[in-house]
């Protein structure tokens, strides 16, 4: 089975998302540290809290640079006659197999970052949940969506 890869712009989109979440954490941490400075706490504990906070921020910074690249390398999907297979993850790789006959409906979504980069995400809905193929070029997302839709219609007509 031949796996397809996502568009390379997906790396940038994930990076932007991580930067936004980094700043949210940074603001929270700064606020927390300001409150901490006004409390009477043993200096030893205060130092440990500073170290832990510093490590968390460093981890998040490394995540911005490194994780999108790893994630992109791991992301694969394949659509065959009878199934959709999605593989993704950073440290833990999740592989999901969905028989096409179980697909209920499909949606294409484009958030502000995706719109700016010309990307789309295809969300596949089953009765028991949903799965997403993200970071696709718009025309590829449309093709996948049309392809799956026609299979769903085929199934409904048979029923």
């Amino acid at each position: 089975m031949e796996y397809e890869k996502l568009d390379e712009k997906a790396i940038l989109s994930w990076r932007i998302r991580r930067i936004i979440s980094f700043f949210v954490i940074l603001i929270t941490v700064v606020a927390g540290l300001l409150i901490l400075n006004n409390t009477e706490l043993d200096n030893n504990y205060r130092n440990y809290i500073y170290i832990a906070t510093g490590l968390l921020l460093l981890y998040k910074l490394i995540g911005i640079i490194l994780y999108p690249i790893i994630e992109y390398k791991q992301w694969r999907y394949a659509i065959t006659e009878d199934k959709v297979e999605i593989r993704h993850g950073i440290f833990f790789i999740t592989t999901t197999v969905i028989p096409i006959i179980r697909v209920q409906h499909i949606t294409i979504s484009r958030g502000p970052i995706y719109r700016k980069l010309g990307l789309s995400a295809v969300k596949i809905f089953l009765a028991s949940g949903s799965f997403e193929i993200e970071g696709l070029r718009e025309n590829i997302a449309n093709t996948i969506s049309e392809n799956l839709k026609s299979r769903v219609m085929e199934r409904l007509n048979k029923e």
Binding site: K83, T94, A127, S128, G129
Partner: protein, 492 residues
């Protein structure tokens, strides 16, 4: 139009009487006891008491139900009008129930569930109405008929003549279930009710008595060790008794009838319930054994179908019980009888010996190690005292228990698959065997990391139609071959 449009019976607004009208009753009680002055002085809070009753009344007045040959239609909303149509073919369970008030006025509550309730629209797609007896049975038949009422009537007529309960459970069975099943939830609830709410109400009713001084006086009668032992024993006994009483009342006169197309489950003392579980809509079953059940060879069976076992009354979650308690051999026999389309073999592929190490990579192990590290750091900083060493000792004991639990989890893990059923076995002290119809599986996922993948191990998760709380069933650290096997069967 075969039924409606109608709002149903007004008694529906009293469905959750205590929840919606409890505060009004309390207000009435306080007014009678303490006089109207206290109420008049706190009018701003008194207004809050009427929010719930008014909202249920508005919801009742602005909701109308109708049923035709193909679908059920619900029109609702005061300011934002909403219309929901549910095809009769999508309905999975229809249940009738009566609480005490409904029994007095011969009114039934009908609850119809459909497949879409597994996702986030769950509550919105739930249909609940109250009707007089004749209307209620007519609507139940209509909803179950998929539009063909005649065929449905024929099935029921034929069946009613020969239909005898295939599973019956007496009060003693439920007392046994109450004693053998896990008590943790009941113990916590009872403990918080007795020591939280109890002392609070006591302090309100008897203002002149100092409750904390009284508790201190009682505790002083015993040494700390004996006091704690008595407290733990008391709470455990209270937990066992409350669990047994709740279970007996809820599942009183429990029977399951095996109809050609459905299983009919009936039970209840104060609130009588009748569920019709369409066999074709059943996704699977799970056989559960608590540690005590395993010792005495008992088990209980739950069934997976949308609409059964996902409602709750107060703090008590209702379970999707099919066979409350019985010997394992009897359960096997009955399951083969009522769900013959499923195969209940037990040829599990167990987790291989080399996969044991991966079981130790779990949250509770990291938590236990984290506690030890944390306590060690505090000791290293300078807080060296016997108290900290006692905590460190307790943390090591916790680590040993965690390691034992991980090993037990490894022993219980297993999976097997064939064209009829996929089964996953899991658990630590309590054991759970889940059987899902292969045809009902909608997706299969495997989660693994690079090292585990290299050694050929993976964790498998099945996606199937079931209430949310049971749909997350996983076979941990089994061979990758098992994933390929299930994958192959699924696409067939």
């Amino acid at each position: 139009m075969k039924f409606g449009p109608t709002r149903g019976n007004i008694l529906l607004i009293f469905e959750h009487f205590l929840k919606d009208f409890g505060l009004v009753l309390l207000l009435l009680f306080v007014t009678i006891w303490k006089g109207p002055q206290i109420v008049l002085a706190n009018l701003q809070f008194v207004a809050l008491v009427f929010i719930n009753p008014i909202s249920v009344l508005v919801k009742y007045l602005f909701t109308k139900y109708s049923i035709d040959e193909e679908k059920m239609r619900i029109d609702s909303g005061l300011f934002v009008k909403k219309t929901m149509e549910i095809p009769l073919k999508a309905i999975t369970t229809v249940d009738l129930s009566q609480n005490l008030l409904f029994q007095i006025f011969k009114v039934y509550k009908i609850k119809a569930d459909n497949s879409s309730q597994t996702n986030d629209t769950a509550k919105q797609a739930e249909v609940i109405m109250a009707l007089k007896k004749e209307e209620a049975f007519y609507v139940k038949d209509l909803l179950e008929s998929k539009g063909d009422l005649k065929e449905q009537e024929q099935i029921e007529k034929q069946s009613d003549e020969i239909l005898q309960p295939i599973i019956t459970c007496t009060a003693s069975d439920f007392v046994l279930l109450g004693i053998l099943q896990s008590k943790l939830l009941y113990i916590i609830t009872t403990f918080s009710a007795v020591f939280g709410g109890g002392t609070y109400i006591f302090s309100i009713l008897f203002e002149e008595v100092d409750t904390s001084a009284m508790i201190e006086k009682i505790m002083n009668l015993f040494s700390p060790v004996v006091g704690i032992a008595i407290l733990v024993l008391m709470v455990y006994i209270l937990g066992v008794v409350s669990s047994a009483i709740v279970t007996v009342f809820r599942y009183f006169n429990y029977t399951v009838k095996n109809r050609e197309d459905a299983l009919i489950v009936e039970f209840g003392l104060f609130t009588k319930k009748s569920y019709t579980l369409k066999k074709e809509k059943i996704s699977g079953v799970t056989i559960k054994q608590s540690i005590l059940m395993r010792v005495f060879g008992y088990c209980s069976v739950e069934v997976f179908i949308i609409g059964y076992g996902d409602s709750s009354e107060g703090n008590n979650k209702e379970l999707s019980i099919l066979y409350p308690i019985s010997k394992l051999a009897q359960v096997n026999y009955i399951l083969d009888e009522i769900l013959p389309e499923m195969s209940f073999e037990r040829k599990y592929h167990k987790s291989e010996k080399t996969s044991l190490r991966y079981f130790f990579f779990c949250a509770r192990m990291f938590f236990a190690i984290g506690i030890i590290l944390g306590v060690s750091i505090v000791i290293l900083i300078g807080s060296v005292n016997t108290y900290m060493f006692a905590i460190l000792g307790a943390s090591f004991a916790f680590l040993i228990f965690t390691m034992i639990s991980v090993y037990l989890e490894y022993l219980n893990a297993g999976i097997y698959a064939n064209t009829k059923v996929v089964s996953i076995r899991s658990g630590i002290l309590a054991k759970k065997m889940t059987f899902v119809k292969t045809g009902k599986i909608e997706s299969i996922s495997q989660k693994t990391n690079t090292w585990k993948k290299r050694k050929g191990f993976t964790t498998i998760k099945l996606g199937f139609l079931a209430p949310l709380r049971v749909s997350n069933i996983r076979a941990r650290n089994v061979s990758n071959k098992q994933f390929e096997e299930v994958n192959g069967i699924l696409i067939l």
